[in-house]
Subunit: 354 residues, 2 copies
């Protein structure tokens, strides 16, 4: 990369902002010394925080604004009064070409609404989706949509497959396998929307590495590289998995505390437990990516710390350095050709007809 | 209980049937010495297995049949040729009053289809649901539907709340709290169907202990006693949680094996790990219950062993001993009154209108 990579940060987004944003930027700068930041937020708060981090002053420009989006704002409210907020201004940087990617740990709904208004959805994509990396037994898988769209038709699921595939390629997987999340692997199972999407992905000459249906437990197994689902199911699956991991850790602590031998074992195995919690730590895989927009926006967990925010910045940098937009566009051209030549494969129509 | 409790078992259902069924019956008999079994299946196979279990011969009657439902049968196929199958005959026992509850580890779709045909759905219930007990940090919660209905309207979600509440009461919880699974806890979130159901549960004089919306991670936390969702989401949440628990156990084993101190710690903490795996063991919480039918049917995991099948029998015995049918009927009368007096609260209409 010859051009300097610039990240626009919503410095006021997140439960612990702006501290975690500045801390995250400092951590990311150590890993990627060439990047530059534009920090949108309260200059009075930001200046001393940036100064306290060695080397960050030279890499970060503070763009002062008094306003910010609150976690409890409804997306519509945030958008209405939000054009001077740190979140809006960070996205605006991407729109104007002042930055390659915007990152925020703020209100997800507001961020998506503002991103849609400013960056617009890509041509031939109905709606953007939120994707994240899910830790699996075999590594990591891309899962989408995680909550941007609660109702999804077959055509949109195909679009999500295309977006997710491109994201996986951007992360370094050359020919990622793609599965549709369903309640069984047989062809007869599931919603009409899923069946319509499966037909296109299976029969079309898209040359996608389409695996077929996968079930809930296939996510953790890492059966496929990209798991496609609607935003309602994806959000509930993600939070259910987070809850289960926390529950397991809770039971493990209780079980080890209960006896002398358990406590002794825990003492000897402390290093192993640290390795385990690093592996299951949601902070190390932080960063939901908004896919399908004319510009890059990455969402960090609202409750994260500086380390977690730095992970979101890592994701943002990977995305900005990749060529994923072109691979999406190429796929969309294939899909459009397919629909023109074979009206039967128009999944939107199929869903309506069925 | 004065009457002898009789369980009708599909002795040929399950990957390891009939062995696990007979073994499970023997384990359950030790815990509940008064119960009696009617074992439907291949008499030639069953006789020696029953004889080998001390005391079981006196408590079990073998009802011979040559036919059984296969795991790969489609529900419609199973029903068409299935009237002599062990599964059909077990349910038929419940219909005829020869048994109080039927239990099968066979094909779920076929079992539900046969149960609906033979037992019929309860008056004022649109469709039956599958409920199970989910281990949580605070104990166990009832979750439904787990896959009987992939599309669900608001009225059905209210029915599921009533069915789940009654099941929790049958399990010994006097005033169970009920939550609707959603992608956020704010009132504006979610599908129209969920919003319509929330309105009835919140505003109606049903006097249900309605908590509100819960998210995916609330299941493991045990935030509420009964979690209500559609069968698509419920099935994916359940399998995602199972996958995550297995993944965590896998990572734990890997982390402990990696170093000498980890292995030493694991040696000392072996008892604690056994307690943990007992707690997360799906076999100890085996038994999905079909709710909303005029008769009791319990589904055991297909891949379970004798111990797991015995857990399903425990659930069946709890259900058969409870008065849950009457508490459902009382609730349904309340709901019908509500809909008559206040047409606005007719959730089915509301969904159509919105």
């Amino acid at each position: 990369m010859t051009e300097t990579l610039i990240l626009a940060l919503d410095a006021m987004g997140g439960d612990q902002a702006p501290d975690i944003v500045v801390e995250g930027a400092a951590i990311a700068l150590l890993r990627h010394p060439g990047v530059r930041f534009r920090l949108h937020g309260d200059g009075g708060l930001l200046k001393p925080l940036v100064k306290a981090q060695r080397g960050l002053s030279d890499a970060a420009e503070i763009v002062h604004t008094d306003e910010s989006v609150l976690m409890e704002d409804k997306p519509s409210e945030a958008v209405r009064r939000g054009r001077k907020t740190s979140m809006w201004l960070a996205i605006d940087d991407v729109r104007k070409g002042n930055a390659h990617v915007a990152v925020s740990a703020g209100n997800t709904g507001a961020l998506m609404a503002m991103a849609k208004i400013q960056l617009k959805t890509m041509p031939n994509i109905s709606r953007p989706a939120i994707a994240a990396l899910w830790p699996t037994e075999r590594g990591e898988s891309v899962v989408l949509d995680l909550g941007a769209n609660i109702a999804t038709d077959g055509r949109q699921l195909v679009e999500f497959a295309i977006l997710g595939e491109a994201y996986a390629i951007a992360l370094g997987l050359p020919n990622p396998s793609v599965g549709l999340l369903n309640i069984g692997v047989e062809e007869v199972k599931g919603h009409d929307e899923i069946k319509a999407a499966a037909k296109v992905l299976r029969d079309s000459p898209l040359e996608m590495n389409y695996f077929g249906f996968v079930e809930g437990d296939d996510i953790a197994k890492g059966t496929v590289d990209v798991i496609v689902t609607d935003g309602f199911t994806g959000n509930i699956a993600l939070k259910t998995a987070e809850g289960t991991a926390r529950q397991f850790a809770h039971f493990l602590r209780l079980a080890l505390k209960r006896s002398f031998w358990g406590r002794l074992g825990a003492f000897f195995a402390a290093g192993a437990f640290r390795a385990l919690s690093a592996k299951m730590d949601p902070r190390s895989l932080n960063g939901g990516v908004f896919l399908g927009l004319n510009g890059l926006v990455v969402k960090s967990h609202g409750g994260t710390d500086g380390k977690g925010f730095a992970s979101a910045l890592d994701v943002a940098i990977d995305m900005a350095e990749s060529d994923f937009k072109h691979s999406i566009e190429a796929r969309l051209v294939e899909l459009a050709d397919l629909e023109t030549n074979d009206p039967d494969s128009n999944v939107s129509q199929e869903v309506v007809a069925s």
